[in-house]
């Protein structure tokens, strides 16, 4: 019998915040010391990838939710439609 455990919540958050802080600092350090080499100019913008990840993620969710107002229908959308069609007949 295996022991039932809940997921390691506290450990996760500690590691996460530490990684976030370290990544913010390291980005500055590496840009300053020219340790990183990118292809495009905009990639050299400070914390570019942090902003890209954060803003990209938010935009994706918000735009999709906006689309959802028009394209999300009830679960049996097509089945209901075809039933209605049969009734017309």
């Amino acid at each position: 019998m295996h022991r039932l455990r809940v997921y390691p919540k506290r450990l996760f958050w500690r590691v996460y915040w530490a990684a976030l802080a370290v990544s913010l600092i390291l980005d500055g350090v590496w840009l300053y010391s020219h340790a990183v080499h990118y292809h495009f100019k905009f990639q050299y913008f400070p914390e570019f990838f942090a902003l890209f990840g954060f803003i990209g993620c938010m935009l994706l969710i918000l735009i999709a939710k906006g689309m959802g107002l028009f394209i999300v229908k009830e679960e049996d959308y097509y089945e209901k439609r075809s039933k209605q069609g049969n009734r017309v007949k």
Partner: protein
């Protein structure tokens, strides 16, 4: 030297015997042996046992067949076909382990014919053999869908076959026009341009693009894969689309249209994935998105782009099977893969959660997982051709991929911030941390190992690629930028996590544009058109009745009045129109 044995024929014909083996344990062992036999044949082939395999554009052709005025080369072996064949049989082995619990033997047979025909397609040396194998490939999954037994699956199966027969007809028309123009059956590089003389190639590329589920022709994938049986859907994730990518690499590398279609596809599918409530449909949208990278890589046409497409196809088969298996576990154990009915499963299925997460990190392209070593190659190819929009689209798709497969799906199925699943799921679970059948965990374990192994030691993958690889994945720039991006993607997800919760609903896709007009056409046919037909029938019958009545009766013959004559002429006209319409 020994004669070459086709692993595809071994697997497909061997699959036909499965239902006739009497003992279950022998049957299962035999089922697992089939892909291993294929693997052994491939190892012997690449070791040069049947003849030396030359470097990529050159190939080894063990035999040829005369056919009408042409010569068929049913088999052509080169680095690229071996790469695809290896991953096909290795994936088939893991999928067979996952499917061991399936009671319906014919499902195994359909799956093995599917795998065998996919191998036939990647080894095809001429266009007719390729078409023949693609046609078998379009029928085998039909049964994997049908065996699910639900009405929805039946509808999806029919739509699947319709889409693939449409693409098949396009490919066949393209092939015939190509043969007519050049007299060659060679399955190789095709010319490309925009004039009317390229119509055959446009049709051919349309066929491949539909098979590769490129936007806007992607809807068949999310529609059908999510309706197949839990194990059947795993087979479907790997073969059809990747074979289409293989065909595109060989026939249309460097077509700029493909680059744009691929990059748009990579992002477009992600918007629909945000709204998705079904775990398997969400993973389907991620297949579409990941194929976008491959199509874009093919469209770039540089050696780096083509290598990126081929290596990403290989890695994708492995991690995507793993993701589908993870979502399939939830379906098998909890009875549903819908997010709004799940959550809190971690306590009862932690091993499947962690194995799934390996797949989630791989598809996102985390360093030390296999997606990183292949996806970054395509992104780097976009950087090297200095195409900013393509780079931003592909990099943006990476963010979305991590958001969905790395965060949204595991959060909604296993966590959702609660420690117990909803009561209607809880009563199906044992009080144990291992609710998933062991053979499913074993299959996921092997795939997870491969994900990490190829991610840590990519040399083995790079050595198999068609062109020499001058790409070092683990540079500080790349590892750091992608890690930082993911850390902040998580932050965005956490802020908006309530918005990505599952809500019951059906997300309309581009197939709406086909299904609704089709629906109206059906309604028109069953309603007004039938009524009009019936009405015409009645008029014709009445007119004929009156004519017959008049001619048979000598008394009325004398009293033939103008109105009767009019009816007779009308009837004759109607009959004439029918006659003409029949013979047009």
């Amino acid at each position: 030297m020994m004669a070459w044995v086709h692993p595809g024929i071994v697997i497909a014909l061997g699959g036909l015997l499965i239902p006739f083996i009497p003992w279950r344990i022998v049957k299962q062992a035999y089922f697992l042996m089939l892909p291993l036999a294929g693997l052994a044949l491939l190892v012997l082939t690449s070791s040069g046992m049947f003849g030396a395999i030359p470097a990529f554009p050159e190939s080894f052709r063990p035999f040829s067949l005369p056919f009408l005025d042409y010569t068929l080369h049913p088999v052509r072996i080169h680095n690229l076909s071996l790469l695809f064949a290896y991953v096909y049989v290795v994936a088939a082995f893991c999928m067979n382990i996952y499917a061991l619990g399936v009671k319906n033997d014919w499902e195994h047979t359909a799956a093995m014919i599917y795998v065998g025909s996919a191998l036939g397609a990647v080894f095809a040396g001429d266009l007719l053999t390729l078409f023949f194998c693609l046609e078998i490939m379009s029928w085998a999954p039909f049964f994997l869908l049908l065996f699910r037994g639900t009405k929805k699956a039946m509808g999806a199966a029919i739509r699947y076959v319709l889409w693939h027969h449409f693409s098949g007809v396009c490919i066949l028309a393209g092939i015939l026009m190509h043969i007519h123009a050049t007299g060659s059956l060679e399955f190789g590089l095709m010319p490309w341009g925009w004039g009317s003389q390229y119509l055959g190639y446009h049709l051919m590329i349309l066929g491949f693009v539909i098979n590769a589920a490129t936007t806007p022709f992607h809807s068949w994938l999310s529609d059908s894969y999510s309706e197949a049986t839990p194990s059947g859907s795993i087979y479907m994730t790997a073969y059809t689309t990747k074979t289409a990518i293989f065909c595109l690499i060989l026939t249309f590398p460097g077509v700029p249209l493909l680059m744009w279609m691929g990059a748009i596809q990579a992002v477009f599918a992600l918007f629909l994935a945000v709204l998705e409530n079904d775990g398997r449909r969400l993973c389907s949208y991620h297949i579409i998105s990941q194929i976008g990278y491959m199509v874009a890589g093919v469209g770039m046409g540089t050696h780096m782009g083509l290598n990126g497409a081929a290596s990403h196809a290989l890695c994708h088969i492995i991690y995507n099977a793993l993701l589908y298996m993870g979502a399939g576990c939830a379906l098998v154990v909890a009875g549903t893969a819908k997010f709004d009915r799940l959550g809190g499963l971690y306590k009862y299925m932690p091993i499947s959660f962690w194995l799934y997460m390996v797949g989630g990190f791989s598809i996102s392209g985390f360093p030390l997982f296999n997606g990183f070593v292949s996806k970054t190659m395509t992104i780097e190819a976009a950087e090297l051709i200095h195409n900013r929009p393509i780079y931003l689209l592909l990099e943006g798709a990476t963010v979305g991929t991590f958001l969905h497969t790395g965060l949204k799906l595991p959060w909604n199925i296993w966590l959702q911030g609660r420690t117990e699943p909803p009561p209607e799921v809880r009563f199906r679970l044992k009080d144990s941390a291992v609710n998933t059948p062991v053979h499913m965990l074993a299959a996921m374990g092997i795939l997870a190992f491969l994900c990490i192994f190829l991610g840590v030691y990519p040399k083995i993958l790079y050595d198999m690629l068609p062109y020499p690889v001058e790409f070092v994945p683990f540079t500080l720039t790349r590892v750091f930028s992608i890690t930082q991006m993911f850390i902040f993607t998580f932050l965005g997800f956490w802020v908006l996590r309530k918005l990505v919760k599952g809500y019951p609903g059906y997300v309309l896709d581009t197939d709406w544009l086909v299904r609704i007009p089709g629906d109206y056409l059906l309604r028109f046919c069953t309603g007004p058109l039938q009524r009009m037909g019936a009405c015409l029938d009645r008029i014709g019958e009445r007119a004929a009745d009156r004519i017959v009545h008049t001619l048979r009766n000598p008394e009325t013959e004398a009293a033939l009045n103008p109105s009767l004559a009019g009816a007779g002429i009308l009837a004759a006209l109607i009959l004439f129109v029918f006659f003409i319409a029949r013979h047009l």
